[in-house]
Amino acid sequence: MAPATAAPRAPAKENGKAEATIEPVLVVSGLRAYFQTSSFGVEREVRAVDDISFHVGANEIYGLAGESSSGKTTLIKTVAGAIRPPLRVLSGSVVFDFRGRRVSVYDSDPQVMDEIRWKHLSYIMQGSMNVLNPVRRVRHSFVDFAFRHIGRKMPEFMDIVRTHLQRLHLTPAVLDAYPHQLSGGMRQRVTIALATVCRPEFIIADEPTTALDVIVQNGVLAMLRDVQREIRSSIIFVTHDMAVHANLCDRLGIMYAGRLVEEGRTADVFKAPKHPYTAHLIASLPRIGYVAARKGLEGTPPNLADPPSGCRFHPRCPLAADICRRQAPPMTWSSPGHRVACFAAATGSAQ
């Protein structure tokens, strides 16, 4: 079992703002969410989120990385309460605290959740062009999604939108375009603009910058961080781009095969990764100038409908021992603010 998150202690911020304990805004405990389907009489269970516990503090950017298909999208969908069959929550809880207003996602009635989603929580879905109505101009999406919440008169509202778009390196002319007339990266930025123009208290962003060149990407990230700092909101940011994590996130969680395998302050995870998967991931980052042949991880990502026994990383782990095949390693604190799920890491370093 993962340690209870009853008293999640967020570590003090690096910039020394002297916040010894930060009130968590989100507490996820023992969360299990599986895709359960049956076709032609064959039951199939994809264990995409398997016993995950973590918290996110106020004024914190929490990064999430991990192998492709390790369950990142499923985890944050479940956190945002945006699930539908065949995805089912089997156990655990997701509790938000929006400045004193406590909302337990899987114990509240749907109306409350709807209201929360509009007012406090903003979820940028992966590849999320689908929030844009394909047959209406972009302008209408802003009016539909954001006008009510900003509470200004229309001309003033449009000014706010235009200024916001410019911060994302977009010309206000995109407002008159249909989604298909925009490039992939332009659409991605429009989606981000929609999700942030109302300055929500909690932003969940799933790979929001995959289609952006690095200059524009940095502008988008700077905007996100400024908005976050202004109102001390919280962000969960999912990306495969580890350099983005390094530059943006306060803490970082690493997922592998449906489980959270490591978590700590971003600098700690980068400088001293404890889990062999994390260590490999960080060592494999390509850099400009690399020309010598470099290899990816041996083996293939596990099939979550039939995951390996014990530690799910064992078939690919250079340190695997007997116990790893039989038992799942629990998440344990290896140092203050840094936890890892690995038998070898508990006794020494995994690097």
């Binding site: 690096e14 910039n15 990385a65 492709s68 298909s69 999208t73 992966q126 590849g127 062009m129 101009r137 390196h169 977009l170 010309t171 002319a173 008159d176 375009a177 007339q181 490039s183 992939g184 332009m186 930025r189 790979e207 995959t210 289609a211 952006l212 060149d213 690095v214 200059i215 940095n218 502008g219 700077a222 961080r225 495969h240 781009d241 580890m242 350099a243 994590h245 390094a246 530059n247 971003t266 600098a267 995870v269 980068f270 400088k271 991931l281 494999s284 980052l285 390509p286 400009i288 100038g289 690399y290 020309v291 470099r294 290899k295 990816g296 991880l297 293939t300 990502p301 099939n303 409908a305």
Partner: protein, 289 residues
């Protein structure tokens, strides 16, 4: 003399955009030219600003969008002259796409394995169910998946990176002469990304496949490309030998682009790099796009 594999000459694509009242023209691609030789397979990389016309250029090469001006020839045949079904099929067998956003690339109502089977039948000319399934499985295994894992599943039942890998597998089923890959690894983790980039390299070296690789990732571009062009606002601002260009960019935009690449070593810096880089780039380029 054999004609070039691909010859792109002075292509332009103009779109009109805006409302009926304020209609304006956008020059998405503005006079781009390059040639890929038939006798030397290569990885030709296109990087550049978001909205600079990369996807539009790719679509013209795939003959799904026609240029406003200029010509594109594949093995000597002008794409605008391909009419007959037989010619179209021959062209499609020669040039395979990997589309930018995997969430848009697949029909949501169609099971994903069908795409692979159709490709095996039409592009590789396979007949028996066993042959077709074996070929699909082989292609999937190269990208870290398998037929058992995805059989019968719909696009929304797969992760972003899985979809992207299936799009790559589809292009591997036949052996085309040219693959046009539009940001093929943008949703894949660094480790798998490396395996896939190696795969592209092997395709070039062992199967003689040429690849147009559109990406925002300068590190993998450096790692696999032979030549590179850098685009901004529809134009090529700089081009040449990939390593020479990336080691020592000359155009102000290319220089900015390289400087803006974030470093994973900055962990714990509190993101100082983010805003600093931005202010600088805006000041020097003197505008927002």
């Amino acid at each position: 003399m054999t004609p070039p594999l691909l010859e792109v000459r002075e292509v332009v694509k103009a779109y009109s955009m805006g409302s009926v009242l304020s209609r304006h023209r956008i020059r998405a691609v503005e006079g781009v030219s390059f040639t890929m030789k038939a006798e030397r397979p290569e990885i030709f990389t296109i990087i550049g600003e978001s909205g600079s016309g990369k996807t539009t250029l790719a679509r013209m090469i795939l003959n799904t969008v026609s240029p406003t001006a200029g010509t594109i020839r594949f093995r000597g045949t002008d794409l605008s002259k391909i009419w007959r079904g037989r010619d179209r099929l021959a062209f499609m067998r020669g040039v395979q796409p990997i589309f930018q956003n995997p969430f848009d690339a697949f029909n949501p109502l169609k099971q994903i394995d069908r795409y692979l089977f159709t490709t095996a039948r039409r592009m590789a000319g396979l007949r028996t169910v066993k042959e077709i399934e074996d070929r699909a499985d082989q292609a999937l295994k190269k990208v870290g998946l398998s037929l058992v894992e995805i059989r019968g599943r719909f696009p929304h039942e797969l992760s972003g990176g899985q979809l992207q890998r299936i799009a790559i597998a589809r292009a591997l089923i036949s052996t085309p002469a040219l693959i046009v890959a539009d940001e093929p690894v943008s949703m894949i983790d660094a480790s798998l990304r490396m395996s896939i980039v190696n795969l592209l390299r092997n395709l070039r070296d062992e199967m003689g496949v040429s690849i147009i690789y559109i990406t925002h990732d300068l590190a993998t571009a450096y790692y696999i490309s032979d030549r590179i062009i850098i685009m901004r606002k529809g134009r090529v601002v700089e081009g040449g030998d990939a390593r020479a260009v990336l080691d020592n960019p000359q155009h102000p935009y290319s220089i900015q682009l390289k400087q803006a690449v974030l470093s994973p070593d900055a962990a714990g810096s509190g993101g100082a790099l983010l805003s600093a880089g931005l202010v600088e780039s805006q000041a020097e380029l003197g505008e927002l796009t």
